[in-house]
Each structure stands twice: as structure tokens, then as C-alpha cells.
Symmetry: C2
Subunit: 294 residues, 2 copies
DNA sequence: CATTTCGATAGATTATTTTTATGGCCTGCC
DNA sequence: GGCAGGCCATAAAAATAATCTATCGAAATG
């Protein structure tokens, strides 16, 4: 039983004639005869009977006709569904993001994406960079938004833009002072940090060791919002992604802490598996991200 | 897109390997590769991606997998349904019967048939012999139970048995008399007859003209039950199929009217279209009918 | 009763599928 | 890090399947 045979069968059943069915499907009549014979053999049932001139469906043929029509409709729906996915009109994109991009960037990006591709489902799981890399390698995620250069052989890295890290403090913490600190002076201030292993923390540690500063970490938090709260409460200073503190800086709930030569720029990237054929929807999301960042 | 390609696709999707899928379906690996490639081309969508060693479904592949499984299940159900019809376990038999067999024979036959083949639908339409023959020729009926020899070239006639016609009267009509009538004497009695065109009437008329008797028809009714009622009420005598009057004879609501040389035997037959491939269920019904008649 | 229509059949031909043989790529193991 | 082994892709050959041409026979038609 093949789909082709079923289509031939349906044409014969509908037209009540082998010859006319043959014309309709652009074959010769013997080809139709053989297709029907094979279908009958494979099903073990006679499908037509020739009473006089006309051909009639047998009872088995009537049952097959019902079912074959349903099958054809379903096959056609399936073809359409796959085609929609292939064209990016439908589908699912599984996104992973590390904390900073996940919280401060992706909501905006995904909002725009959703307006553009309303029928494409997106799932976002926020985890640390390491976990995201692992899941991408296992094909459990399609795209990863991370702030560290993985530079692994198996991953494609699409640069999105710089994510500047800015030192901040509570307005009351600094008081009236406006003096620019030397990098070493940071050691004198209590420092509220993200947990070790976070991209933000890694970038800060790398900068600090480059400058020969040892930070006076008084608190480690695995959530940038919690870090902001702690700093706003005057527990200490911190260095946070600009996109994370932009609203607080505007509302003056936090203020910049000027430090000499403090240009910590983390590179935000989208990563995906080497050799992966990005679905159109995923590809569109990457494009959209690049536009929205700049 | 063929069913074969979908089955191959499902095997690959399930096993995550072209080679293992090939083993499972008994082909070589390149055959699987080509099937998948053709499927991808016909759908216009990449279905698998090779990331490292394993092959993974793309989003389009995931959609196809869902749908293909449904399609497979439906195709398999369809195959089963057709097979059941072909084996006579299921199906529909469209039966036509003329009045006498339809009322007095078929309820019993169909009851027995239903117990034997509970999943086979039967439809019974009671019409006159002419209409039944026409519908059988138009393939609107599968089997016809009639009491006249159609002997048309295009019909197969399966004899079931004799349907004896017995003269009857109301007990009160005869009074104490028990004398056997000569055929000619029947003309002296009011006769309650079936309508012209009914098989019973035709048989009686044929017998009467053979005997040179002209019946004194005082009433024509198109329903044998109505004839019985009329006779029971003493409106006259009639000649009715034995199977139609058996209960009344037993209950003495009617009594036989002995007439010399009155052996009117109508032959009951099943008819179907010449060249018709009887479905197993229909065939079984014919067999059952022959058993139950004798 | 000849004629036409329609499906079945057989043999030739074409198209498709499968296999065989091989190459490239990645992985994992020493 | 080199090498073997596993896995998929590819191309040509072989096998299989589908289609076409030609023709037959049965049934309906005028």
C-alpha cells in the first residue's frame, strides 16, 4: 500500500472509471489497472467490481475510500505543517542564555521576535555559560546567548556587541565625593560580587588580576538584581553590566563609581553548534538580535 | 513523499542512526540515505542534522515525526478495517426482499446472522420484486430475496426452497364443513388477494389460469398481514404463503381450505448481480439462508 | 449484428530503488 | 596527536518496479 496507489484508487473511485482516472492523473489505463491490482493484492481485498460497463466499489472499497480520503487530507496537512516550519512561519526555537543576556537583553529581543514571527514558539532557559554550552553540544538548545568567548572548536560564535561593565555604588555610599578612584583603591571598598563562574564575575576577576587588584568581596550573589539591591542598600560597591543598571542610573538609585582605566568590555555572542543547519526562525532570531543590539 | 519514506524516516528518527535504521528495515545504509534525501527534497525541508557522531532531528523533522507516526497509525488502522471487511468480520450487506420473504423469512435469518457476525451491518429494504431487481442491477443492493424466478441473464439465482401457498379461511367461514373443494368451486367464494404485481398474486393467478378458474376477487391488499386479518374477519378466503400463516393455523385463527390439486409452490431464491464478487459477509448470509430454510 | 467502449494482459521500455564500492569526517583510544 | 573505527555521503552498477504500447475480450449501443 503506497500513497500513490491510494491516490489512484481515489481517482478511480470518484470517477467510476479506470480510463478516466488514468487521464486525470496523467497515466495510461493499464498503469491504473496495475496499481489497483497491486493495491488489492497488498490489502487482500477486492476493491472494485465490474458489473456491466460501470465499475463499482465493493464494501471493502467503500471502507478504503473513507479512510484513504482521511489519510490524504492528513498527509496534506502534514506536508503543510513541515513546510511552514521550513519557511520559518512556524516552529520552535530553544534558546539558552546566561544570566545577564537572559534577564536584560532577551526579553526585549524575544518580544520583537514574537511580533515578527507570531507563530514561532520560543523557549528560554537561563543558566550559566557552561551549562548552555553543554546543552548546545547535546542539541538540547538551538541558540545560546552568552557573554564569554567560548571559542570551542565545536561551536559557532556570532558576535553581537560589547557589554560594558560599569562600577556602581549607592548615592549615599559615596556621599558628596566625586573623586576618580585608582584601580588599587577598589580594594578598600567592600565589594558585592556575582558568584564565581558567572560571566560577569569572570570578566571582573580577569580585569582585577590584570590590574593587580585583589577585591574585597563581602558578599556573593547569583542574581544581578540581588547585587543591585545590595549595592543600593549601601552594603558595598560592585561592577555590573550597563544594560543591567541603566534604569537605576537613570533614576539615581545607583551612581557610577569612576575608576581610572576601568574599561571592562565583555563580548556578547550568540553561539550554536558547529555544522548546525539553523532553522529559518532561529536564523531570523540571530539577525534580529544583531540589529537590536546596535 | 511516500509511506515507505515516512517509515524509513521514523526508523532513523527513533534509532538516531542511518545505519541502524537500515539494519532494522532490512536495507543498506545508502538506501536509507537516499530515501531521506528524497523525502527532504520533496518536503523542501532539512530533517536531520549531523552534529558530531549522532544525527538529530531538526525542528521540521520533529514536526514530521509527530505527523508521520499519526499517519502510520491511521494507515495501519485502515489496513485492518479493510482486512476485516475482506474477511467478513465487518462490513455491510444491503439486502432487498419482496414482501413475503422480507416479512416472514428475513427477520429470522438476519437474527441468526447477527448472532454469528455481530459486527456486520445489514440493511433490509422491502420492495416489490421488480424494484429489487432494478436496484441489484444498479448495485444499490447486494442481495435480493424474491419469490419469482427472474431468470434474467444478468442475475445469478440461488434457489433457497419451495414456498408453498396454502388456501385458508376463517374457522367460522367454513363452519362445520370439511369437504374438499374442486378448484373451480373457488370461484364461488369471495377471494381476498394481494395486489397485482406481488409474487404471491402472480403465482396464484398463474395457477388459476392453468386450472381455468377465474377468482372472485373482492378485495386487494398490498400487505399479507392485512390479507390475513381480512380472512380472519370472514371477508373471504385467500391463498397465502405457509410461512405467513403458520402461527394463525397453529392458533386456529385460520384453517386450511382443502382444494383438490392445489399445489402452488413458489420458488424462493436469492439473487445477485451476475459477475458480482460477493463479500464474505454476503456469501455467509446466503449460506445461512439455505441452511435455515431447510 | 456491427461498432464502440472499457478493462485485462503481455512484452518492451523506462524510471526508480537498491546495492556495491569507496571516500571523507568526526570520535575516541592509545 | 596519530590512527583505527564508526558513520554518513556519493557514484556507478545492478536489480526491481512502474509505465507504455499494442492487443484482446466482454459488454453495451445503435
Amino acid at each position: 500500500m503506497t500513497l500513490d496507489q491510494l491516490l489512484t484508487f481515489l481517482a478511480v473511485a470518484r470517477l467510476g472509471s479506470f480510463t478516466r482516472a488514468a487521464e486525470e492523473i496523467g497515466r495510461t489505463q493499464p498503469a491504473v489497472s496495475q496499481q489497483i491490482r497491486q493495491l488489492e493484492e497488498s490489502l487482500g481485498a477486492k476493491l472494485f467490481e465490474k458489473l456491466g460497463k460501470r465499475v463499482y466499489l465493493t464494501e471493502a472499497g467503500r471502507v478504503l475510500k473513507e479512510g484513504a480520503e482521511e489519510l490524504r487530507a492528513q498527509a496534506s496537512r502534514l506536508r503543510e505543517a513541515v513546510s511552514q516550519v521550513a519557511k520559518g512561519e512556524r516552529g520552535r526555537v530553544r534558546i539558552g542564555a546566561s544570566t545577564t543576556p537572559g534577564i536584560y537583553l532577551l526579553p526585549r529581543i524575544l518580544g520583537a521576535f514574537r511580533r515578527r514571527y507570531p507563530a514561532v514558539e520560543t523557549s528560554l532557559s537561563i543558566e550559566n555559560t557552561f551549562a548552555i554550552e553543554r546543552k548546545i553540544k547535546l542539541n538540547e538548545l538551538d541558540l545560546g546567548f552568552v557573554g564569554a568567548h567560548p571559542a570551542k572548536q565545536e561551536l559557532v560564535v556570532v558576535p553581537l556587541g560589547n557589554d560594558e561593565l560599569v562600577p556602581v555604588a549607592a548615592p549615599s555610599y559615596l556621599g558628596g565625593r566625586r573623586r576618580r578612584l585608582e584601580a588599587e583603591e577598589l580594594a578598600e571598598h567592600p565589594f558585592v560580587a556575582r558568584e564565581r563562574g558567572s560571566g560577569t564575575r569572570q570578566a571582573i576577576d580577569a580585569w582585577a588580576s590584570r590590574k593587580g587588584v585583589s577585591l574585597n568581596v563581602v558578599m556573593e550573589l547569583n542574581n544581578p538584581e540581588a547585587v543591585k539591591m545590595a549595592v543600593a542598600e549601601g552594603l558595598g560597591v560592585s561592577i555590573l553590566p550597563r544594560c543591567a543598571v541603566a534604569p537605576e542610573l537613570r533614576q539615581r538609585r545607583l551612581v557610577p563609581l569612576p575608576i581610572k582605566d576601568c574599561r571592562i568590555a565583555r563580548f556578547l555572542s550568540v553561539i550554536y553548534h558547529q555544522g548546525k543547519h539553523l532553522a529559518p526562525a532561529a536564523s531570523a532570531l540571530v539577525d534580529l538580535s544583531r540589529k537590536l543590539i546596535f
